[in-house]
Amino acid sequence: MLIAAALSALLTLAVLGVLAGDQLWRHRLVYVCCALASAALLVGGLKHLGQTPGTGPAIILPFGLPWMSAHFRLDNLSALFMVIVNVGTVAASVFGIGYCSHLPQPRRVTPFFPLFLFGMNAVLIADDAFMFLVSWEFMSLASWLLVLADHKNPENRAAAMVYLMMAAFGTFCLLTCFGLLAGAEGGYAFSAMRAAPLTPVTSFLVVLLAVLGAGSKAGLVPLHAWLPLAHPAAPSHVSALMSGVMTKVALYGLIRILFDLHGHVSWGWGAALMLVGGITAVLGVLYAILQDDLKTMLAYSTVENIGIVVIGLGLSIAFKDSGEKALAALALVAGLYHMINHSIFKTLLFLSAGAVITATGERDLGKLGGLLKRMPWTGAATLVGAAAISALPPLNGFVSEWLIFQSLFKGPSLPHWAMKFGVPVVGAMLALAAALAASCFVRAYGIAFLGRPRSRAAAAAHHLPGTMRWTMAVLAVLCIVLGTIPVTVTDALSGVIQPLTGVHFAVSADLGWPWLSPVSSTRGSYSGTVLMMTGLSLFVVSILLVHGFGTTKVRRADAWDCGHREDIPESQYTGQSFAQPMRRAFCTSLFAARETVEMPEPGDLSPARLTVRVIDPIWTYLYGGIGRLVDAVADQVNRIQFLTVRRYLLMMFATLVFMLLVVAVRQQQ
């Protein structure tokens, strides 16, 4: 009831958003109401997770396709994602209260924002394919309009175009996938799909189309191409939702089809998903390291994290197919935990990027610097977010990566040789991605928030409204809480995955509350709680020791810098110079990264130049190739446009004969 009321409120708010006009307080009011509606949905999701019975009552409403009505249902999986989604939307809406006044055209954002929230939530409760796809399109189109909010920038228009094409491709795949699941009788309700038997060919096609459709929305390589263009183009609180939340809705679709509607995916698909996930993780983070734009960097890092989650999902499928139900549950818990974590810290980081853009007007790393002093709240919250996404203990990102590693380390127990050799390779990719993510965020944080300001705008960063600061502070606290009480979260997750893996599984079964001991007490365990307490005590002890034995005097002086005292902030490392070792080590073959140095002639006073050239293999080879192919086909087909009437009639006749033949042959059979 609460959920239905909140959803209708969101639809009404969209209308009110149109009426808001130029009055800023009306826009603020819409965001306040969005925050309330999202909070109601969050409470609804949590309440459902708190109850023991798994599935809520089905609600059937008399609209939708002519021969069937609309089905809605809230089960544990939907409720979990409703919580994930609405933590992000509450944060983004509260942030929006303060942020909307800094937007160039709030009128182009406010009406679509509630629609976007509505679409994402409706996908989660849809219980038939039709409602699922309609809500999916609501989500896609509303976010497309939000990407176009700053439509005067030609880059944003191009990004929106690419996004629209990829969204159409994704929906097309999902539509076909549901069509195959529904079979010839057209049982579009999810309950009918679960019961319907699948032939091997349909089964293969269903999984392929689900991975393509949901994967293009989530940003799996090579379908990620739109994501780093579209996510940064939207206003920051919408970027936070697109990266932190909408990708999770896409993964919800993937889990719903692969684990629930299809239910018997073969281990080969698990292996394929793990491989794609590993490649996505490594490529995503390598792209991220090369970016100078704060928001593009964050969008690529989303690609990386989606890869990590998909590794967990693929592993879970492989375990499930081999009958290792407890390990399947472990891998799925790990993947879901990482989704929760990523939705929190990515929302936090995008909001902080929005705060930086509001305060300085700059999003280029090369023009930022020293912001921690000007924006202490944002700086501290971002530090927590950056440490969490770098998988550092005792924060939440580490817990989920630890769980994924633990389940990967059990991967070689699978009977297939491909998995025995493949799992260590995927493990190495995951480890590489995790380590590179830390480099990526040291780089971004160190350059934007530490050091000295690199531009006048950064030096004059101004204060932010309280709602924006508080939102980030609360998200940062959530990162710490989810890292230090992991067992509470995993126990809640075990109820969610029980219907999907068919086993009741608790990660803490062996050692009890603060200990994560997934396999057994002697097989490796972790406790964020104990680690945090011990770490804090050692921190205090080291302060006491140092201050007890020594002096507490501090003198402020100029930086020493090996005696090269310089006051020009340009002498600091920039994003590109920080990335140089990584670029040389990893990107020379992958991205064909080359550096050329142009030295002026002796006596010539012009500056020397260092040019870096990086080729994006996916755009250049894959999409460039598809583009050239489409052009070539179009050129050939173009000829048909200039035929004589006689030839057109001949073609019609030939087509007619061909069709009649097909009908005749089919009737023969």
């Binding site: 002093k373 700086g379 770098s390 998988a391 203990p393 630890w402 380390f409 070689p412 025995k420 260590p424 390779v425 493990g427 190495a428 590489l432 380590a435 830390a438 480099s439 040291v442 780089r443 160190g446 350059i447 530490l450 050091g451 050692l511 001991s517 097989r523 490796g524 365990s525 972790y526 406790s527 680690l531 770490g535 050692l538 921190f539 140092v546 034995f549 020594g550 002096t551 005097k553 501090v554 003198r555 402020r556 002086a557 100029d558 930086a559 020493w560 810098d561 090996c562 090269h564 902030p569 002498s571 600091q572 490392y573 920080f578 990335a579 140089q580 070792p581 040389r584 080590a585 990893f586």
Partner: protein, 320 residues
């Protein structure tokens, strides 16, 4: 000794012992180079002297710069507290396994690198950038070593691995050899030893770790140096513990009375292992020259591949 007491002894043992090990490495190196060298106790005096000095902090530094030495030191200390040195009967052993250990060292590195960038000097950024590049290969290599150890022994917890190996669970395996080689390469990189980094260098363009802590002085520098010393001890305990676990006290129900004796033996064995490893490190460093910065990727990529091969060889040897 109960687990609580053993844990407390372990926590203070690693910190008390760390400067001596570093001092011993320096002493052996200077003898090999034909110098008399300072006493092995010199690092204790250095740290005491640094603690007495006032800390000079740059005008452009933020609170990150002042907090980083404490965070770095306590993260490394915490990591060292859970690696068994003389007994596996540690209270905190279940709190962190090898993966968490890698991440704790990562936490220390994260803060050191940020501190390097905080003052806004070219050297700080250079050190941070190089350190992160080294880490981005050394960390996965160490995780792959954990992977193969976990496949061999069925656990990622260092105490359980040691108990497994001492229990005769593993013979001479190719994988163990490969994992040992990879772990040694990682240890060299993580501790900034030659050929990756030279802890004694003050030549600007070759610095990595030194460049990050260049702006530190007084007690902050003492903590950063202390963290480096504890990290070296930690890796010696790890290598000595897993690949030569002999002498380590493993608690068992029937020998409750003889526990203290076993722990004394464990302590003596640990000291002996540390001095053997420290001498070996000094000899190795004297024999080899430092590498060019952009060759690190080859060296550490090699470590990563060795780690990967260690896991894959398990199946090859199983199948043959």
């Amino acid at each position: 000794m109960s687990a609580v007491l053993a844990q407390i002894v372990q926590i203070f043992l690693v910190v008390a012992l760390a400067p001596l090990i570093t001092g011993w490495v320096r002493k052996v190196k200077s003898r090999l180079q034909g110098r008399i060298g300072a006493s092995p106790l010199q690092p204790y005096r250095d740290i005491y002297r640094l603690l007495q000095k006032e800390a000079v902090v740059a005008h452009s530094a933020s609170w990150v710069f002042r907090a980083a030495p404490y965070v770095t030191f306590s993260a490394v200390w915490l990591a060292a507290a859970v690696i068994p040195t003389f007994t596996t009967n540690l209270l905190l052993a279940p709190a962190a396994d090898l993966i968490a250990l890698v991440a704790l060292l990562g936490l220390a590195r994260f803060w050191t690198a940020l501190a390097g960038m905080d003052v806004g000097t070219a050297f700080g950024g250079m050190g941070a950038s190089r350190e992160m590049m080294i880490a981005s290969l050394a960390e996965p290599a160490m995780l792959m070593v954990s992977f193969s150890l976990s496949l061999i022994s069925g656990t990622t917890s260092p105490t359980q691995i040691i108990a497994f190996i001492l229990g005769g669970g593993v013979g001479i395996e190719v994988s163990m050899g490969l994992a040992l080689a990879a772990l040694i390469m990682v240890a060299i990189a993580e501790n900034g030893r030659i050929p990756i980094d030279n802890p004694a260098t003050h030549l600007e363009l070759t610095m990595v770790h030194e460049a990050m802590v260049l702006e530190y002085s007084g007690r902050h520098l003492a903590l950063m140096e202390g963290a480096a010393m504890v990290r070296l001890t930690l890796f010696m305990a790890l290598i000595g513990g897993i690949f030569a676990p002999w002498g380590m006290a493993v608690p068992s129900p029937e020998m409750s009375g003889a526990n203290v004796l076993a722990e004394m033996v464990g302590l003596a064995a640990f000291l002996a292992k540390c001095f053997v490893l420290a001498t070996a490190l000094a000899v190795f460093e004297t024999m080899i020259a430092k590498m060019r910065v952009f060759r690190y990727a080859d060296f550490l990529g090699g470590a990563l591949l060795l780690g990967l091969l260690a896991t894959i060889f398990l199946y090859v040897s199983e199948a043959v």
